[in-house]
């Protein structure tokens, strides 16, 4: 793409510029996406435009779980069928969805919308950890399940949340890691196996 922005019709330049807001999308990719949407998939482009507009206009953060919601309190948090004594802390809404897909958890959630990432300057203030502490101290929550990722950032997040919540009298647990379901040791990578040995449990 050698054309400069000024050679393009204004709406096209604006679209390309808008697409660059997506993570990891540079000018070339943005131009390719714009031409694809306009030339080859106009109905897809309409769905994208409507979806973006609808999400921007109607979504807010749920007061209870901090995930996206249309109402001040989302359906999951408002459901009488959930066990309010358990609170699982996850990094992103997609993690909440993954746990829901297991049909094995009936407690509530708090979505951090990120993780502590010291080298990127994302600390407790940027992450708004005090909201989680307030949420967990609602007097009903008994156990906080730390379900952040097993990355170094996710582990650091879990550690500090654990310290903060335990000091306030809550029971804190961490999701386990190790050999995957159906996993044969022969095919498990060495690091996972080493961690599974460290985290072994009484049997």
């Amino acid at each position: 793409m050698n054309a400069t922005a000024s050679d393009l019709p204004e709406p096209l330049a604006a679209l390309i510029d808008g697409l660059r807001a997506l993570p990891g999308v540079g000018p070339k990719s943005a131009a390719r996406m714009a031409f694809h949407l306009l030339q080859r998939d106009r109905s897809g482009a309409t769905r994208l435009a409507d979806g973006l507009r609808g999400a921007l206009d109607r979504l807010i953060h749920c007061e209870r779980c901090n995930s996206f919601s249309e109402a001040p309190v989302c359906g999951l948090c408002a459901s009488p069928r959930r066990d309010a004594r358990q609170l699982a802390v996850v990094e992103m809404p997609v993690d909440l969805n993954r746990i829901e897909e297991t049909h094995g958890y009936s407690g509530l959630y708090f979505v951090l919308m990120g993780r502590l990432s010291p080298l990127d300057g994302i600390g407790p203030r940027e992450l708004g950890l005090e909201r989680l502490i307030r949420r967990a101290l609602d007097g009903v929550t008994e156990e906080v399940i730390l379900a952040t990722n097993y990355t170094v950032e996710g582990e650091a997040t879990a550690h500090y949340l654990g310290e903060l919540l335990k000091s306030r009298g809550l029971k804190v647990t961490r999701i386990a890691r190790g050999v995957p379901a159906g996993g044969e040791l022969e095919h498990v990578d060495a690091l996972t196996l080493a961690q599974a040995l460290v985290d072994r449990k009484n049997y």
């Binding site: 990355t151 690091l191 961690q195």
Partner: protein
């Protein structure tokens, strides 16, 4: 620099998303120093590199290409080191932030590399974190050529246990005129520090302040994120 590097002993310092599906990985390698590698497709769920590029784990990395963008094509976990856990994780992030901020790219520092590994091993083994960090900071400053002579004053006089000294940027250690001046260090602490004797808590406390002043001077503008994170956590 060679076009192709095979199985270089390395540590991952930091990873960031790059383009749609890749990762930009800052690594510290024994023979090649600090450099950035692109792990192409490193953010795809099925990427074999994805789970191996963990910080604080000894790795053997292979890459090719030169200039600003080198491509990582293999990463092998070397094993033998347990994960940094709990509060020591932030110590690890602190070491990485120091290297990212102070170590110039593509400058091999084998001594510093070995000190980094030894520090992680000591942290994992449960040694007092403060002691591990101070020892590493000293090696880092020495390797960077930043270490002021701490065994003598700027004027060349030997440090005496009973006297007190101030450290001034661009000058070095200066004996204080009158007693316990603010921000001054006991001569005995400086002697223990240069001798590597950390057994006394006052030595750890004093050297923490001195190292902080030295590092802040060489960092220039901008607080260390890891330090700010600990300050913010304490207010919660």
């Amino acid at each position: 620099m060679a076009d192709r590097v095979d199985q270089a002993e390395s540590w991952v310092l930091h990873t960031r998303p790059y383009r749609e599906t890749s990762l930009l990985v800052d690594v510290f390698s024994r023979e090649h120093g600090r450099l950035s590698l692109v792990a192409r497709g490193g953010r795809r769920p099925q990427s074999s590199l994805r789970a191996r590029l963990l910080a604080f784990q000894p790795l053997s990395l292979s890459w090719f290409g030169k200039g600003a963008v080198r491509t990582l094509h293999a990463a092998e976990w070397q094993g033998g080191l347990r994960d940094l856990a709990g509060g020591t994780l932030i110590c690890g992030f602190y070491l990485n932030e120091l290297l990212l901020r102070l170590l110039p790219p593509e400058d091999a520092h084998a001594t510093l590399f070995d000190a980094y590994g030894a520090t992680l091993r000591a942290l994992v083994a449960g040694e007092t974190p403060e002691r591990c960090l101070r020892r590493f900071e000293l090696v880092l400053l020495e390797e960077m050529g930043y270490a002021e002579p701490l065994h003598q004053t700027a004027a060349g006089a030997p440090i005496e246990a009973e006297r007190r000294y101030c450290w001034r940027p661009e000058t070095g250690l200066v004996e204080t005129a009158g007693g316990d001046e603010d921000g001054s260090y006991a001569g005995a602490m400086l002697q223990a520090l240069t001798a590597g004797d950390w057994s006394h808590p006052a030595v750890l406390q004093g050297s923490k302040l001195l190292m902080r002043a030295l590092i802040a001077h060489h960092l220039g503008a901008g607080q260390l994120h890891t330090r700010q994170l600990l300050i913010d956590l304490n207010t919660l």
